[in-house]
């Protein structure tokens, strides 16, 4: 078993990648808040992450992450259906999710550091 490139690290990396991509989609939604006819887009994080876990790392690049257009949101007269509240909340949630991932990754590296230094504080 590799200490650095283990399953947990790989999964964490995938989760962080997916979170970063979702942040981009949310940013695009916010950028287009005044564009007539623009429709909100989003990534189904849970489904995409589950799919990323189920497949081998070698062909992970082969399956695209699906960005879908969201339905059921209230549409303004100009055909735009971006909701400020939804996007702001999603942005905050996404940010915290990213922070959590980074914290777990850091603690993993710290543990590794601890093993390398033989338990002494370095």
């Amino acid at each position: 078993m590799s200490l650095v490139d283990n399953t947990m690290m790989q999964n964490l990396t995938r989760a962080l990648d997916l979170t970063a991509l979702r942040q981009r989609v949310v940013s695009e939604n916010i950028a287009n808040i005044d564009t007539p006819g623009y429709k909100t887009r989003d990534i189904d994080f849970a489904a995409e992450f589950r799919r990323a876990l189920s497949q081998d790392e070698s062909d992970a690049a082969a399956v695209p992450v699906q960005v879908r257009t969201l339905r059921g949101l209230e549409e303004r007269p100009d055909g735009n259906n971006v909701s400020i509240d939804r996007e702001s909340l999603l942005m905050a949630q996404n940010q915290l999710q990213f922070q959590t991932g980074v914290a777990v990754l850091r603690s993993e590296f710290n543990r590794l550091q601890l093993a390398i230094s033989g338990g002494s504080n370095s």
């Binding site: 970063a20 981009r24 940013s27 916010i30 005044d34 623009y38 690049a61 400020i84």
Partner: protein, 149 residues
């Protein structure tokens, strides 16, 4: 996934919203202008927004991290054109005015200050929202750097 691409997306929106605010303030400033270089009274202008969101293919490339094929130049929003309102001018009777026509009427632009101020507030709020999206992206990048420490 390149986190720096988020700046391009939100930055384009900041530029577009600022241009919109400039157009609106120009409308407010010229609400009494009876003379323009093109002739006739000032006409109300409007900024038209156009989405430049990345295609699913570009997002796929971004998700695999294999390349940043054109992603830096796309995404976000831009002002595609600034159009002029074609509404007829308001005619006021003022024979002493230098721009009065033969029958003594002066043409003033048809600008509703209330409508313009509401538009200005909308641009301001959208600007703030995008600015907070930028600080969110900045924080995420700083957190990633924390892994190295």
């Amino acid at each position: 996934m390149n986190l720096f691409g988020l700046f391009q997306v939100s930055g384009s929106a900041l530029a577009a919203e600022r241009l919109r605010a400039e157009v609106v303030t120009s409308n407010l400033a010229n609400s009494e202008s009876t003379r323009t270089p093109e002739g006739g009274p000032y006409r109300r202008k409007m900024a038209v927004f156009e989405s430049r969101t990345s295609s699913p293919f570009q997002l796929l490339m971004a998700s695999t991290g294999s390349t940043n094929s054109g992603l830096d130049s796309s995404g976000g929003v831009r002002v595609s054109q600034v159009v002029e309102d074609q509404a007829p001018a308001i005619r006021k009777y003022d024979p002493g005015h230098p721009d009065a026509d033969a029958s003594g009427y002066v043409e003033y632009p048809d600008i509703n200050p209330v409508q313009e101020v509401v538009d200005l507030m909308g641009a301001q709020r959208a600007y703030e929202l995008n600015a907070s999206a930028i600080s969110a992206a900045k924080q995420m990048i700083q957190q990633s750097i924390q892994i190295l420490r």
